[in-house]
Subunit: 240 residues, 2 copies
C-alpha cells in the first residue's frame, strides 16, 4: 500500500524533507494535499474527536493505521524501509543531526515570524528585521560551521553526513541549503567559499538521477512566500 503524506497544499514547507526521501527511494506515495479535498481530509484527521493519537500538526505520514507525525520522526520511521538510514546505533546519530536541522528550520521560520504565527508578517516586520540580522550574523555561521565540521570528521569521508552511504540526512541538508539560497541570496552568496563540503553535498544530491528528475517534475513546487523559506529582500543582507 502506498504511503500517504499529509501536508499543507501549495508550498514545499516541512513536507518537502519527506518528499525528497520518498522520491529518492522511488517509494509509492500519495501526496494528499494534491488530491481532491486533501486539505479537508488532513484537517479531519488532526481534529478527530474519536480516533486515538491524533497528530498536532502536519506533516504526518499515514502507513496503514499508523500515523507518524513530525518530519524527523517520519524519516526515522521511513529511513530503514527506504534504505536511507543506518541500521546500527548510528541511527541515533542520524536522527540527532536531523533534529538539529529541524531546529534550524524553525529558526528560519522565525526570521519572518519572530513574535507570533497569528500576526501577519507586516505586523512584526521590525522584530523580523532584528531576528533576521541575528540569524544571518550568528546562527547561519554557527549551524553551518557545525555541519561542515561533521562532514569533515566523518571517518567514512566527507561525501555524506553519516556513514559511507546516502541517508535522509544528506537529502534534508540539500533542502535546508537550497531554502537558504532562495530566502537569503545575499547572505549565502559566498556559501561555497565558507562551507565547501556542504556546497559539494548540496550539488551531489541535486545531481542524483531520482532527485534531478523530481526537481524537474511538476511534483516539485516552487519556493514561495507561503513557505518557511521566504525571500523578503528587506530581511536579507550580505554576511560578514
Amino acid at each position: 500500500m502506498a504511503y500517504e503524506l499529509y501536508y499543507w497544499d501549495g508550498l514545499q514547507g516541512r513536507g518537502e524533507f519527506v518528499r525528497l526521501a520518498l522520491e529518492e527511494a522511488q517509494a509509492p506515495y500519495v501526496d494528499i494535499a494534491r488530491e481532491d479535498d486533501g486539505t479537508g481530509d488532513m484537517l479531519s484527521i488532526m481534529d478527530s474527536k474519536t480516533d486515538p493519537y491524533p497528530p498536532f500538526a502536519p506533516p504526518f505520514l499515514k502507513d496503514g493505521d499508523l500515523i507518524v507525525p513530525h518530519v524527523a520522526n517520519i524519516l526515522l520511521y521511513l529511513g530503514p524501509k527506504l534504505g536511507l538510514a543506518p541500521l546500527d546505533d548510528s541511527r541515533f546519530v542520524a536522527h540527532g543531526l536531523q533534529l538539529t536541522i529541524a531546529d534550524m528550520v524553525t529558526e528560519v521560520h522565525d526570521t519572518h515570524h519572530p513574535l507570533s504565527n497569528d500576526l501577519y508578517y507586516e505586523e512584526q516586520k521590525d522584530a523580523a528585521k532584528v531576528r533576521a540580522t541575528e540569524f544571518i550574523d550568528h546562527r547561519i555561521p554557527k549551524f553551518m560551521r557545525y555541519f561542515e565540521r561533521v562532514l569533515k570528521l566523518n571517518p567514512h569521508g566527507d561525501g555524506h553526513l553519516v556513514g559511507d552511504a546516502l541517508t535522509y540526512v544528506d537529502l534534508s541538508m540539500f533542502q535546508l541549503i537550497d531554502g537558504l539560497f532562495y530566502a537569503f541570496p545575499r547572505a549565502t552568496k559566498r556559501f561555497g567559499e565558507h562551507y565547501p563540503r556542504l556546497a559539494a553535498l548540496h550539488d551531489a544530491v541535486m545531481a542524483r538521477p531520482n532527485i534531478a528528475a523530481y526537481l524537474a517534475s511538476d511534483r516539485r513546487l516552487s519556493h514561495n512566500e507561503s513557505c518557511i523559506f521566504r525571500h523578503y529582500p528587506e530581511l536579507d543582507k550580505a554576511a560578514h
Copy 2:
C-alpha cells in the same frame, strides 16, 4: 557502566526531561555538570576537532562510545532500556508526542528571547511582551487542548498519554506543566479547570515514589531565571 548526562550547570533546562526518566527508572547515571570541570568536559566534546559526530548542543547522553544528542532522541534511545516506552509501532506515537513537547519548550524559551539568544532579555523586552502575550492567549490553549484530547482519546484510559503504562512522555508532560506553573502562575491559575486530565497526570507523576524522592533531593535544582522556564512577572498575565 553508568550513563553520562551532559548539560549546562545550575539549571533544570532541557536536561531535566532526561533526568526525570533516569530517576524514575533508578538507572545509574552521572550528571556531568555537577562533577569537577564537568562543563569543560562537555565543551571539549562539543568542540572536538578529531572525534566523529560531535553534538551541536547539550543535552547529550554518552553511553560508552555512543553520543546521543537532543532530548527526544535521548528518550527514544533510553525508553526501551528503562522500561519507559512502548516496544511496538506506538513508539513512533510516543516519539511524536515528545517532539510536540519539544516544540512547545522552544516556544516557552522564545517568550523571553524572541529576537536572539545573543541579546540580553532586557534588550528584547518589548518584543518578549508581545510574544509572551501571544503565547498565553493562543499557544498554551492550542497545545494544552491538544494534549488533553490525546489523554481523553487514549483507548487505554486517560491516565497516560500513550498506551496503558507510564512512559517518558508522561514524565516530560509533568515537567512541561510544572515549568509553566513556575513561569506563568497567573496564566495557569485555572489550569486544572481547563485541562483536568493533564492536571491529574501532573499530580500522579509528582506522587510516584521515585519522582517524589528525586524532587525532594538536592539533585533537583530549583526553577530559576537561567532556565527555559523563567518567571518574569511582566510577561505573565491572566489567561482569557
